[in-house]
C-alpha cells in the first residue's frame, strides 16, 4: 500500500544501474528542465518555483522561490549560489543518497537556480566525512563540464555557470548557513548575526542564495512539469514530496520519498516495516531531526507529516529525520546523549549557548546517573529559557528544544530518575 500518488521526484532514478552517470541521467530526460528554464525569463523561473511552493528542506522550511526573489537585480556585485550538503543534523542522511545516486539531479537544480538569480558561480559545501560522496559529485561535475552543461557557455546558450565542491572538516555548526559561508571563505565556521541576510551580504560580501540539497534537487521537476503540478502534490502549505530518513526502532529503516501530509503511522507501518515489537511498543518519535521536540506515542497515532500539523502537535518537520524509539528507551539517557552533542558542537561564540549547553549536559549527566535533585528539572527549563532566542544562530535553540520537549512529554521519567536514582525502563 502506498500513500497518494506515489510520485517520485528525488528518488526517480535511484534504482537504475549507474544512476550517477550522465548518460543514464540524460537517457531518462535529464537536463531537459534546465534547457526549458534557459528559454524562460529568470523571473518566470522564480515565479514557477514560487507557484510550486517548495519549502526549504534543510530544516527551516522557508519557501525557496521567495528566497530567490530577494536577490537584488540591479546590483553590480557577482551573485553566488551555495548548496548546503553539510547533512549534520543527527538522524538525517537523505542528501547523501541524492548525491551518491543522482548527483546530476542536484547539478541540474543548481543550474536552474543559478540562472534565475543570475549567479555565475556555485559551490556545494559537503561535510568532510562524505569523502566518497564528494568523489561521486566531483565525477559528475567533471562529466557535466566535459559535456558543456557547466562552464562559460552552458548548453551553447552563452550562459556561464561554474560549479565546485568544497569539503567541510567536521563541524555541525557549519550546516548553519552563515557559519557555512564563513567556512567557505576559509575561516572558523562561526555564524554571523542576521540581518544582513545572505541574499544581500553572503559569500565574499555578495548576494548569495543558499539552499539544501533536497530543495535544489526538487527544482528540475518543478520546472519540467510546472509549479501547479508540484503544488498538487502534498497538502496545503506543504507541497511536494519529501525524503524522510526513518531510523531507530523500526524493522526497515531507510530513506523514503512520500508526499507531504502522510500520516506518521502509515510512514512507519507501511514504509518503514513497522515499529519493532509492534505499534503498541512505540514510546515516542522525534519527527524532524534531533533538534526537534519528541512526540509521544498517542500523538504519533494521529499526526500527519507536514509543516503545519507537526508544528501544531508541538514539534517540527525540520530536516525530515524521523527517529523512532520503542519502549525500551530511557528518555533521560537519550536526551543526555543529545546534550553531549550540542555541548561538543557549540562554536563558543555566544555565552548563552557555550555555557548553557555545558550546563544542560552536566545536569543531564547528574540526572541520568541518579544523582539529580528535585530542582534539577526546573533548572534545566531555566537554562533553556536563557538560551532560546538569545544567541546569534539557532544552534542554541536546537540544543534547548529537545530538552524542553522531553520534559514536557516525559516529565515523570525525569522525576523517577531523581526519586529512585535510576531509570524507569530498567
Amino acid at each position: 500500500m502506498s500513500y497518494k500518488s506515489d510520485t517520485k521526484i528525488l528518488f526517480k532514478n535511484i534504482d537504475r544501474d549507474d544512476s550517477h552517470k550522465l548518460a543514464v541521467y540524460q537517457g531518462n530526460g535529464g537536463y531537459q528542465a534546465v534547457l526549458k528554464a534557459y528559454g524562460m525569463q529568470p523571473v518566470e523561473v522564480i515565479d514557477e518555483v514560487k507557484r510550486g511552493g517548495v519549502r526549504g528542506r534543510g530544516g527551516a522550511g522557508f519557501p525557496a522561490g521567495l528566497k530567490w526573489s530577494f536577490i537584488p537585480k540591479d546590483d553590480p556585485r557577482p551573485k553566488y549560489l551555495v548548496c548546503n550538503a553539510d547533512e549534520g543534523e543527527p538522524g538525517t542522511c537523505k542528501d547523501r543518497d541524492i548525491i551518491r545516486y543522482d548527483p546530476h539531479l542536484l547539478i541540474e537544480g543548481m543550474a536552474i537556480a543559478a540562472y534565475s538569480v543570475n549567479a555565475t558561480r556555485g559551490y556545494i559545501y559537503i561535510r568532510g566525512e562524505f569523502y566518497r560522496e564528494a568523489e561521486v559529485l566531483q565525477g559528475a561535475i567533471d562529466e557535466a563540464y566535459a559535456a558543456g552543461i557547466l562552464g562559460d557557455n552552458c548548453h551553447g546558450k552563452g550562459i556561464r555557470f561554474d560549479l565546485a565542491v568544497h569539503r567541510g572538516a567536521g563541524a555541525y555548526v557549519c550546516g548553519e548557513e552563515t557559519g557555512l559561508i564563513e567556512s567557505l571563505e576559509g575561516k572558523k565556521g562561526q555564524p554571523r548575526l542576521k540581518p544582513p541576510f545572505p541574499a544581500n551580504i553572503g559569500l565574499y560580501g555578495c548576494p548569495t542564495v543558499i539552499n539544501n540539497v533536497e530543495t535544489l534537487a526538487s527544482v528540475p521537476d518543478i520546472i519540467a512539469n510546472g509549479g501547479d503540478w508540484y503544488a498538487g502534490l502534498g497538502v496545503e502549505n506543504s507541497s511536494g514530496t519529501k525524503l524522510f530518513s526513518v531510523s531507530g526502532h523500526v524493522n526497515k529503516p531507510g530513506n523514503y520519498e512520500v508526499e507531504l501530509g502522510i500520516p506518521m503511522k502509515m510512514l512507519l507501518e507501511e514504509y518503514a516495516g513497522g515499529v519493532r515489537g509492534g505499534w503498541d511498543n512505540l514510546k515516542g518519535v522525534i519527527p524532524g531531526g534531533c533538534s526537534m521536540p519528541v512526540l509521544t506515542a498517542d500523538i504519533c497515532e494521529t499526526v500527519t507529516m507536514d509543516y503545519d500539523a507537526l508544528a501544531k502537535s508541538g514539534s517540527y518537520l525540520g530536516s525530515g529525520a524521523v527517529i523512532v524509539m520503542d519502549k525500551s528507551v530511557c528518555i533521560v539517557k537519550a536526551i543526555r546523549r543529545l546534550s553531549q552533542f550540542y555541548r561538543h558542537e557549540s562554536c563558543g561564540q555566544c555565552s548563552p549557548c557555550r555555557e548553557g549547553t555545558g550546563w544542560i549536559s552536566k545536569i543531564m549527566d547528574r540526572l541520568e546517573s541518579g544523582k539529580g535533585t528535585p530542582d534539577d528539572i526546573d533548572l534545566l527549563l531555566n537554562v533553556c529559557d536563557n538560551i532560546q532566542g538569545k544567541t546569534i544562530c539557532a544552534l542554541g535553540d536546537a540544543a534547548a528544544m529537545p530538552v524542553r520537549g522531553a520534559i514536557q512529554a516525559f516529565r515523570e521519567e525525569f522525576e523517577y530518575h531523581v526519586e529512585h536514582g535510576r531509570c524507569m525502563v530498567g
Binding site: R132, R167, A171, G186, S247, C290, A334
Partner: protein, 170 residues
C-alpha cells in the same frame, strides 16, 4: 580545547608533484581575490601528505606556502575536528554513538572493537595500527550502527561484522 602540538621529529615539508597539481586546481575554484577559501582543502591535502596529522611545523609550512597568517591557519586547524592535531593510527576507526546509532546498539559495536583490539576508545595502539574514537552523527543513520575507517563507511554493523572487517584490513 584542541591544542596544537610540536613534532620533535618534524623534518622539512614539501608537497608532492601530484599535490601541487591538485593545489592548482583548488585555487582555480575560487575567485582570484579569494585565495583564503583554499585553506581548508589545502589543509586536508597537507594532512594526507604529511603522515595523517598536522603538527605545528606542518601548519607553519601551510601558512608560509599559502601566505596566510599563522594564527589564521591555527584557528582553522583547531576549529575543525577532522584536522588531526596529534598522530593517528594507520586505521582511524571512528564509531558513531549519536542517537540513531545508539538506538541500534552502537554500544555493541564499541564493545566488539574493545574486545577485538584490546584497546580503549580515545587511544592509539602502541604499534600505531589503530586509533579508536567515538564520534558524532556521520549522516548514515538509517544504516545504523555504523563506523568510519579512514575514508570509508561501514554500515548496518553487528559485533560479528565488526570483527570481520577488522580481520580483513591489510
Amino acid at each position: 580545547m584542541r591544542q596544537i602540538q610540536k613534532d620533535p621529529n618534524a623534518g622539512t615539508f614539501q608537497f608532492s608533484e601530484t599535490a601541487l597539481g591538485e593545489i592548482e586546481k583548488i585555487y582555480a575554484r575560487y575567485p582570484a581575490a579569494q585565495r583564503r577559501s583554499a585553506l581548508m582543502p589545502i589543509l586536508h591535502l597537507a594532512q594526507r601528505e604529511f603522515g595523517g596529522w598536522l603538527s605545528q611545523e606542518a601548519l607553519d609550512f601551510v601558512a608560509e606556502f599559502t601566505g596566510i597568517a599563522q594564527i589564521r591557519v591555527y584557528e582553522v586547524a583547531t576549529f575543525y575536528t577532522m584536522y588531526n592535531l596529534e598522530p593517528v593510527g594507520k586505521y582511524h576507526v571512528q564509531v558513531c554513538t549519536n542517537i540513531s546509532c545508539w538506538l541500534c546498539d552502537s554500544d555493541g559495536v564499541m564493545a566488539s572493537l574493545n574486545g577485538k583490539l584490546k584497546q580503549e576508545f580515545g587511544t592509539t595502539s602502541d604499534d600505531g595500527r589503530f586509533t579508536l574514537v567515538e564520534v558524532e552523527c556521520l549522516g548514515a543513520c538509517v544504516n545504523a550502527p555504523m563506523m568510519q575507517i579512514n575514508d570509508d563507511y561501514y554500515e548496518n554493523l553487528t559485533p560479528e561484522k565488526v570483527s570481520d572487517i577488522i580481520d580483513r584490513l591489510p
